[in-house]
């Protein structure tokens, strides 16, 4: 409403109208003949004042005029962007705008022609950002993947199946949200698949025991040296601060990571939904004290329904072993 009011005041159509009237009324009013220049200047000032007052007086009416216009079928307003139209029939849904955006990108990069002007494209992009669409925030690989999917459906693929699958796996490894698929069955092989993702929380928590040990060691050293380290920590500012954050803490972190790495090597914790009941199950890959967890595949039993599953860390897929019923 505030912007509309501001707009109506500055709208050139209304300003002359409100100017005209006061000028006439004021110029008609000075009936007293006066020759003194001082008096005239006062008149001049009062004229200006009345114009201002009239302007303020007229502005509410101007805005009601504006509202009357909006209530009609057509809104003619240069300040309204094409995508902000209030007309429900013309407004495109978010999905359609996303599709249009990708089509424009695809046409530009792969076909070398533009299906919309730069201005239209910028408007569309701005509108998508405003709506909180994830498409405009995608990485280059993600955009390429979406374009490839669309191109495939429309019948003129832009990359081979192998390239497509590689790109998909790469995005999956990067934990991209757009390639997330639920548990599914392949139509051709009738096998059941489910996606695995990295459990970063558990990967972080695996460092906790080592961190506790490192902290214990740190305070043990402190005790051995007759609280020399505590003395360093309590040095006057800024030395105490520097020692705590740039020497003591990095040392403890480094110690805990080293301890973890000597015990477990190349570890990876993957979790994924069971294809039968959807329960998340996690599995550990790596070596614990030089004992390997068994290469790139793990056999996991669902904690909820007891289904046998095979976790593959190289393809990031859960499959059901041969011969089992989905």
């Amino acid at each position: 409403m505030a912007t509309k009011l501001g707009f109506s005041i500055t709208n050139p159509r209304f300003v002359p109208a409100s100017f005209r009237k006061p000028i006439i009324s004021v110029s008609a009013s000075p009936s007293l003949p006066s020759s003194a220049s001082g008096v005239q200047s006062i008149h001049f000032n009062s004229r200006k004042l009345s114009i201002k007052r009239r302007l303020l007086f007229f502005s509410p009416r101007a805005s009601t005029d504006q509202q009357g216009q909006v209530q009609g079928d057509e809104v003619v307003d240069s300040n309204v962007l094409p995508y902000c139209s209030l007309d429900k029939k013309q407004k495109k849904s978010l999905g359609e705008m996303e599709q249009e955006f990708l089509q424009a990108l695809q046409a530009f990069y792969y076909e070398g022609k533009s299906i919309m002007s730069n201005e239209e494209f910028d408007n569309l992009k701005e509108e998508l950002m405003w709506e909180g669409s994830s498409v405009v925030m995608l990485s280059a690989d993600e955009q390429r993947f979406l374009e490839a999917s669309m191109a495939y459906v429309s019948g003129n693929p832009i990359m081979s199946d192998k390239e497509y699958d590689e790109l998909k796996l790469k995005l999956k490894m990067d934990a991209s949200e757009i390639v997330v698929e639920g548990p599914r069955c392949s139509l051709r092989s009738r096998k059941v698949y489910s996606d695995l993702s990295v459990d970063y929380l558990k990967m972080f928590l695996i460092n906790v025991p080592a961190a506790v040990v490192a902290l214990g060691l740190f305070f043990f050293l402190d005790d051995l040296t007759g609280f020399e380290i505590t003395y360093l920590l309590e040095l006057p500012e800024p030395f105490g601060f520097i020692f705590t954050w740039f020497a003591a803490l990095p040392l403890i972190l480094w110690l805990s990571f080293t301890f973890t790495n000597t015990i477990v090597k190349d570890f990876l914790i993957l979790s994924g939904p069971c294809p039968n009941c959807g329960t998340e199950n996690t599995s550990f890959f790596g070596t614990i004290l030089s004992i390997s967890s068994g290469g790139s595949t793990n056999n996991v039993k669902c904690s909820n329904c007891g289904t046998e599953m095979v976790y593959d860390s190289s393809t990031r897929l859960i499959t059901l072993p041969e011969g089992s019923e989905a």
Binding site: S93, L94, G95, E96, E98, Q99, Y152, V153, V180, E181, G182, P183, R184, C185, S186, L187, R188, R190, V192, Y193, S194, D195, P273, P275, N276, C277, G278, A326
Partner: protein
Amino acid sequence: MIFAGVTEATWDSLVLESSSPVLVEFWAPWCGPCRMIHPLKDKLAKQYAGKLNCYKVNTDESPSIATKYGIRSIPTVMIFKNGEKKDAIVGAVPESTLTTSIEKFL
């Protein structure tokens, strides 16, 4: 029944020529994950009744539709609007993923 089946014979009239957006689920009786999301689909069909037409396609009975739209895995949920395929969601995904995709096209 809200969740009616579509076959090759009724595909054009029910899905492509529908005036409102259409949600189609491709499924097969032998697929475990399909069974997992069936109750979810029924719930969505009730929730969006009147705004969205919901159908399901048995890929065993109508394999040509699945081939035509390049479906490699089931369950696949597709959203059609004005006879055009707008979105496809593969796999038994959580309800929130489905509702966000549906909301985009309503």
